[in-house]
């Protein structure tokens, strides 16, 4: 990282630190206007450093090889595609996937944050889905927490030399589920139950999201493996250029 980038990154950390120190009062997309102002600012401040870091990571990757932009565009498009599809689930209601698993596996969590923010802004402005005030909170759940877990699982599978494709499946599957867990917690924190407080409330929100999301998370895992198998066969050069080696299989 260059000096100037380092400075900008540290600067972006300031609001996060300030928010944490101040000890702010305390759906996948949380709807517009459903979080108190303090929470909106807090989640926004926590998300900002990831966004800035991701921005620099993208620049570094593109400086290393201009053509990496193709895979980046595909990852972004994948988030666009999957988060636009409302899929019926066994509970009789619909929900949608996150699509962040692919980008997290190929580019790492911070780059995914940038891609996720683009999609969230698109949905907040044009679809009245999610919201601009809840952008920070939604970014944290969908474009930071989920991808971080995906990336960690994928890396763990790489370290242990376990089956890569199964690792990708698990990464996308658990990343998707984790996104909804974080959303439940965020909502619970803003709306603690009168009896039982935040935990009771979190369980309530999880009960709404989790059963619906489970089959969709499996679907997201399956789709992510499909697209990676296709690229392993037809785009080895592009994958290798961003550090993904298809031929090293245990």
């Amino acid at each position: 990282m260059k000096k100037r980038e380092q400075a900008a990154f540290s600067l972006s950390l300031l609001p996060a630190l300030a928010a944490l120190l101040a000890g702010s009062a305390g759906a996948m997309h949380i709807m517009e206007g459903y979080l108190p102002v303090g929470h909106c600012i807090l989640w926004g401040a926590v998300s900002l450093p990831f966004f800035v870091l991701g921005f620099f990571r993208i620049r570094k990757s593109l400086e290393a090889n201009r053509k990496n932009i193709v895979m980046l565009a595909i990852c972004g498009a994948y988030v666009f595609l999957l988060s636009s599809l409302k899929i019926p689930s066994v509970t009789g209601s619909c929900s949608h996937m996150t699509g962040t698993g692919l980008a997290a596996v190929l580019f790492g969590p911070s780059v995914t944050t940038v891609l996720g923010v683009i999609v969230l802004i698109f949905q907040a402005i044009l679809l009245a889905h999610g919201g601009l005030t809840t952008l920070g909170a939604n970014t944290f759940s969908m474009a930071i927490a989920g991808p971080l877990l995906s990336w960690a699982i994928y890396r763990l599978f790489g370290k242990l030399r376990w089956n890569r494709r199964f690792g990708v499946f698990l990464a996308a599957f658990l990343g998707d589920l984790f996104t909804y867990c974080v959303t439940s917690f965020q909502l619970a924190w803003a709306y603690p139950s009168e009896v039982g407080g935040i935990p009771a409330s979190a369980v309530k929100f999880l009960a709404v999201f989790a059963p619906t999301q489970l089959p969709l998370a499996v679907l997201e895992g399956v789709l992510t493996v499909i697209i990676l198998v296709v690229f392993e066969n037809y785009a080895q050069n592009e994958l290798e250029s961003i550090g993904y080696r298809a031929e090293v299989r245990p």
Binding site: A27, H29, I30, M31, E32, G33, Y34, V37, V70, I74, G76, A77, Y78, V79, F80, L81, L82, S83, S84, L85, K86, P88, S89, V90, T91, G92, S93, C94, S95, F122, A124, I125, L126, L127, A128, H129, G131, L132, T183, L187, Y191, S193, K204, F205, V208, F209, T212, Q213, P215, L216, L219, V222, L223, I226, I227, V229, V230, N233, Y234, E238
Partner: protein
């Protein structure tokens, strides 16, 4: 494409279709509403009388709820952008591999 990968893909695609179709069969007659809305409803249960303190920018612009047709149009545009970009590049990748193979075969013939 390697044959083994082809079989795996076929199996995975079937699994994906099954994951979407099975809920429809299990839950016949359900309304399949969005779970994001269910989240908002749960907020209403926990904190009765809560009203959102801002309305989405588009609803302000339209002066009310977005008509369902317009909403589905917007979702389609989003899907379209995603599919368009992915398929454009995938098509190029596949065609490129084909050309590479053709060229290799020609080279082998000559030598």
């Amino acid at each position: 494409m390697k044959k083994k990968d082809g079989i795996l893909l076929l199996f995975l695609i079937l699994a994906a279709v099954a994951l979407i179709v099975v809920p429809l069969i299990l839950q016949r007659g359900a309304d399949f509403s969005g779970s994001d809305d269910a989240g908002s409803d749960t907020v209403g249960q926990i904190d009765q009388g809560y009203t959102p303190w801002v309305t989405p920018i588009l609803e302000q612009f339209l002066g009310g709820e977005m008509p369902p047709e317009l909403e589905s149009l917007m979702f389609c545009i989003q899907t379209g952008i995603g599919v368009g970009v992915i398929m454009f590049f995938t098509g190029r990748f596949v065609e490129r591999r084909k050309q590479e193979k053709l060229r290799e075969e020609e080279k082998n013939k000559k030598t």
